[in-house]
Amino acid sequence: MVISLTWLILWIPFFAAVLILFFLLNRPRLAGWIATGAMFLVFALSGILFLQGGIPEQTIESSIRWVALPTVTIEFGILLDGLSLLMLLMVTGVGSLIFLYSQEYMAGDKGYPRYFACLSLFAFSMLGIVLANNLVEIFIFWELVGLSSYLLIGHWFEKPEASEAGKKAFLTTRVGDVGFLLGILLVFGWLESGGEGTFNFTRLQTLLEGIRQAGDGGEALRLLTLAGLLIFLGVVGKSAQFPLHVWLPDAMEGPTPVSALIHAATMVAAGVFLLARLFFLFSASPFVLSVIAGIGTLTALLAATLAMVQNDIKRVLAYSTLSQLGLMVASLGLANPQAGMFHLATHAFFKALLFLGAGSVIHALHTQDISKMSGLLGRMPVTGWTFFVGTLALVGIFPTAGFWSKEEILGTAYRQSLPVFCLLLLTTLFTAIYMGRVFARVFLGEPKEKKTPGDPSWAMTTPLWLLAFFSLAGGFGPWKNFVPLVHEFHAPSFVALLGLGIGGGGLGAALYLYTFRPEAVARIREIAWAPRKILERKYYMDDLYEALIRYGQDRFASLCDLFERIVVVGFTVNGTARLTRWMGHLVRGLQTGRVQFYALLFSLGVTLLTYGLLLWSR
């Protein structure tokens, strides 16, 4: 019963996507409702799964043999444990709200049915990642998520920026995925040489456990370190960690609900999920864990600083997503997957809320530039207040959901590594400042225009209300019980207070300065022109990549071009032709067309041959 229900959950969005793509491209309203209905159905089924069985004590697995070769067997299956059930509830829950929101946000769009088909395809791929029971399957769905993300970012493909952003996202994540694939093959090949090749997570875990207990240190450790780093590269790509983070801010060219669904709540969370799913593999090597923690912390800090100078409301949120993902990754790197997944769940609520709030503002004003917005709180009270709740949760103010999860991560960092702890506190401060800035600019102050439209209709506000509720009270949910605790980290209570103080102080100061003392802000901007310049150029990362491509890849490409022109085309292809022609030129004189001449040559030839034969046989 549980198993068939889980299979059903996986396939329903796929069928919705196929149905829309094949039959409903001319029936937009119906297509939208079918996709949304499918998503709500999947959410209901996941809810039934949870309410009936609770959090599964042991993993439930079901699979079919998909590819059965003499040496390799690839399964296609589902695996249900606390981790995947948590993700299932989150993806379908937040997802269905965003589907509902999209109904109005995308109304009247030319590509409306295509949008919902892609959204359903995305939901299918994401559920596939969540439920996959082996590495190959998860990789396939991983790529499918990449594809649907590409399709959705480039939804308005007539706009050159949008199609460029889609390409950038696809290619950047592909860099990481190559590492992921190599890591999978490395692990498999290594186990295969011991005669135990498998892709299955449960088997892998047992095998690695056995290897660890056998105490076969040296070679196994080296190999697992390499494999762990390679697989982590996939996470870096998909979860947009430094240095492959550049695609996420550009991905904001897509429709706002897409940004909320993919680039805040689910797809980028896939990387963190993979970290948690394969935690037994990563934790085999302390070096890999410290790399993960380092990258996560670095991303958290860099992205938070970048968010402070952005003027596009969605880009601010995008950088904030990067920063929060860095926080989760760091938490996993500090050997606390529970806190990371807890933050993943709460972050999904408040980041989706913030994005949907931003979408509501964009929908009303048709601009994403915060310098053109002001004093919207009075005009759009629902949007404004729910956005404020999201802000509080993101900054981590008591008692919102963000406070509980962030405090866990900070506590872990305090126990595990003081430098990381300090950097994360700094991140908290920057987070408070940029969120205060956005909220003050957009919602506080004097309204600029008189004819600002009010809040949107129920399809858009219902998700806002629900998400605001979960952002406020979500911290009390049983999210932590889904993921087993690896180590206990008891942090002193002053850590939470410190985080709260820094966050609250930063937020209050930013709100005060940006609302009542704009001239002070301008002075600070002037004094700190050098760091501002660096931040506005995004630490020159984009320029660096561009230079790399221009001077590295393009040079190499022209070298290849030269090689092709001279060696491949000039020497082999045209060379063969030239040789043939030259030889033809040499003997064409013999081809006189006179029959008698041919007969003469023929006779001469026969005579010579006969003569030679006689000589030889003598």
């Binding site: 067309g593 006179r594 007969a599 006779s603």
Partner: protein, 99 residues
């Protein structure tokens, strides 16, 4: 029975045939030269057969004649076609395919 004269005659005929084949331009005469060539070969085959009392040579001579008949049929057909197209049987008319 001395073979020498027969072979000499055969060789003379063969040389004549070859010369006609190389030098003549008229298609009919070329066919004629080929007939001479074939018959010179037949002559030496029959002579050998008679000398050693072995019928194999004569059988080969019969095969030679059969081939000659078939060849002449095709050759004459070609000659007729050439005449129809070019109004002459000179091989100069079919020197189109040259390098």
């Amino acid at each position: 029975m001395p073979l020498g004269p027969y072979f000499v005659l055969s060789a003379i005929l063969f040389a004549l045939g070859l010369a006609g084949l190389f030098l003549r331009r008229n298609l009919l005469l070329i066919l004629l030269s080929i007939e001479i060539l074939l018959n010179s070969a037949n002559l030496s085959l029959i002579a050998g057969s008679a000398r050693w009392g072995d019928l194999t040579g004569q059988v080969f001579a019969f095969f030679g004649m059969t081939i000659a008949a078939a060849e002449v049929t095709v050759g004459l057909a070609l000659a007729i076609l050439l005449f129809r197209n070019a109004n002459s049987v000179d091989t100069k008319e079919i020197e189109l395919l040259k390098g």
